[in-house]
Subunit: 421 residues, 2 copies
Amino acid sequence: MERAQIEARILEMVTKAKAAARTIGAMSGSMKNQLLLEVAESLVDQQPWIISENAKDLAEAEKKGLTSAMLNRLQLNEKVIGEMVQGLREVAALEDPVGEVSEMRRRPSGITVGRMRVPLGVICMIYESRPNVTIDSAALCLKAGNAVILRGGSEAIRSNLALAKVLHEVLAKHQINPAIVQVLDFTDREGIDCLLQQEAYIDLVIPRGGEGLIRAVTEKSRIPVLKHYKGVCHAFVDVDADFDMAIQIAINAKVQRPSACNALEGLLVHREIAAEFLPKVAHALKKQDVRLLGCHRSCLLSDEIEPATESDWGREFLDLTLAVKVVADLDEAMDYIAHYGSKHTEIIITGSYAHSQRFLREVDASAVMINASTRFNDGGQFGLGAEIGISTTKLHAYGPMGLKELTTKKFIVYGAGETRA
Amino acid sequence: MERAQIEARILEMVTKAKAAARTIGAMSGSMKNQLLLEVAESLVDQQPWIISENAKDLAEAEKKGLTSAMLNRLQLNEKVIGEMVQGLREVAALEDPVGEVSEMRRRPSGITVGRMRVPLGVICMIYESRPNVTIDSAALCLKAGNAVILRGGSEAIRSNLALAKVLHEVLAKHQINPAIVQVLDFTDREGIDCLLQQEAYIDLVIPRGGEGLIRAVTEKSRIPVLKHYKGVCHAFVDVDADFDMAIQIAINAKVQRPSACNALEGLLVHREIAAEFLPKVAHALKKQDVRLLGCHRSCLLSDEIEPATESDWGREFLDLTLAVKVVADLDEAMDYIAHYGSKHTEIIITGSYAHSQRFLREVDASAVMINASTRFNDGGQFGLGAEIGISTTKLHAYGPMGLKELTTKKFIVYGAGETRA
């Protein structure tokens, strides 16, 4: 398409989305839930057709030589569709965040002031190959009262449009403005660039995907972006840590799902226990096929640790590799984390009350934990319900983002004719 | 200065600020309060010197031909310094927001999860000619545990550096890292451009000034920006409004301080009461020297209303001018506000419970009020204490921004060795 044509198409979409935001913003919770449940039913009914549309994407992707990991992410089978259906039902079951009023207080002037939770307005999701994000994200955005514009990966276009069709059929049945959910039906890259300039219409952009996508979106966007680049999570094993606890947590944090952003990437060990603890933890991790890359001192203490290079500090391995470093004390551990951490998840294993409190207060990360696995940094584990991502930037949301993070609060005032003195 | 030199200077400042953020972030509330009170005392002691430094800025500004309004904003006299001193004492008296823990809950896994309020980190303020912003902003940022970089107007450079010197003398007395407050000591415009690229070091940018400054900062910034462009506030006078109340509120909202962003700029009147109400409110506003620009229908109903042009709808007059429009009903009023409003403050004057609730829920603005003057949209009036501005964008803060809006919340977890199943 010509640039001018793309701009016209995007302008039409965002204009419609802004108008539709008023519709979905004022919709009752029960109506929103009914829509989500009907979409879930429709996905089940239309599963064969969705899978056949997805097969076209898969065939073309195969021709283009995508890796099997990429094809795997692109695939919509019964299991993936079942998870989407389950996700829709879970989101329907969550409490509606919109309209919650808090902090109502009478002021000396006589007015009563409080805050009401309201939708953000229009949210734009930009994501890569997984087509299930289309349904998962749409469900959360709509439940939070927002209109949503979805731009998935170009290799998933038929799958995404098939899922959009299922959504739109449910909306049409109830004569609801279809622009509350819009999926870009063209794959020109300029479509993204153009979307990211629409700050008069779009309130928030959420990129989901690799660091490359997220950096590109952030650089181009004139609209606020909620993001996390990477998760470089550390555990500090303090001088009086329970060794068994520390080993169990290190194994769980590193091994349970090494490709997750909340997996452990760095182990810091207090030097006074290093001689005793390091060989034990190294041996236990080796049994789980974890490769250990350590500082000079740790290599001296265990044969199972290979020498690390400078680039291994602060590195997101995303596989069964772990950086290991001996540190002098809590302060050196916190300095290391401040330097190499990614503000995702940082944990301390300690028996010291004073150290636990200092670590909790002074370490800057979206989740700071005492004596628990990094793997708990997750919307479901934290009790937020479904999550739309984990923010490692501090504005608006820091940590897992659930329904509430897709809303904001406005001030409301009840008066009786008061004027300002 | 050369571009490279500017970049080196900025990099040095932001690096120092990031390190200093850990110092101020961990400082006790009583220490922060002591510093604020000592700065207040020092301002009183050094008032003659501050005024003499300010006089040099004023002399140069006069030579450059600045308007008297601009000179007035630039001036530091006893009154303005007194207000800064009072402001410091008020901020010292506010509760420390840092460290507040909320929402602690035991999860099925055994971990206890909650949220702890923490500083944002490094805040950059970019402002125009009023040098008092240097002290007012520094006080709020520091109290919220943030390091701050201040870039004021070039015409106020000596005044701003004098105020910075007072601050730094107090910090030096206590051997506290001076980089918790830094004022740019050069006025090259490239300094701002370079600051706005430092997303690895600066967490938030707050521009304070006219729409031009705010738009320029927003366009260039790679860092999140909290801002409001303008305040185009409306009052809708409903069919069953109390006329006297509506007239008193209209006068207060328009006349009390017409240059404020929460002043009234548009009056919408229900058509069924227009014939009776409009001549009355027009007459009352005329007596206060308000110029009225109205739609065709309102001009027919009152001789005191002149015809408006299309550009008067949604215009921020900032003087004693008011746009007046007759609307069919609540829905037309809300459509008008959705189209012409600036998401700042919108009010309804009504006797209808149902209409008050629809207006409150459906109107999208940082403050939505029933039967009260727009002028109440203010941090002090809402009970937030001092405010650093009013946000009309919805991410992170919507409405007046007090101390809490200069912080964020991280997740904290208390465990006893839990691992994820």
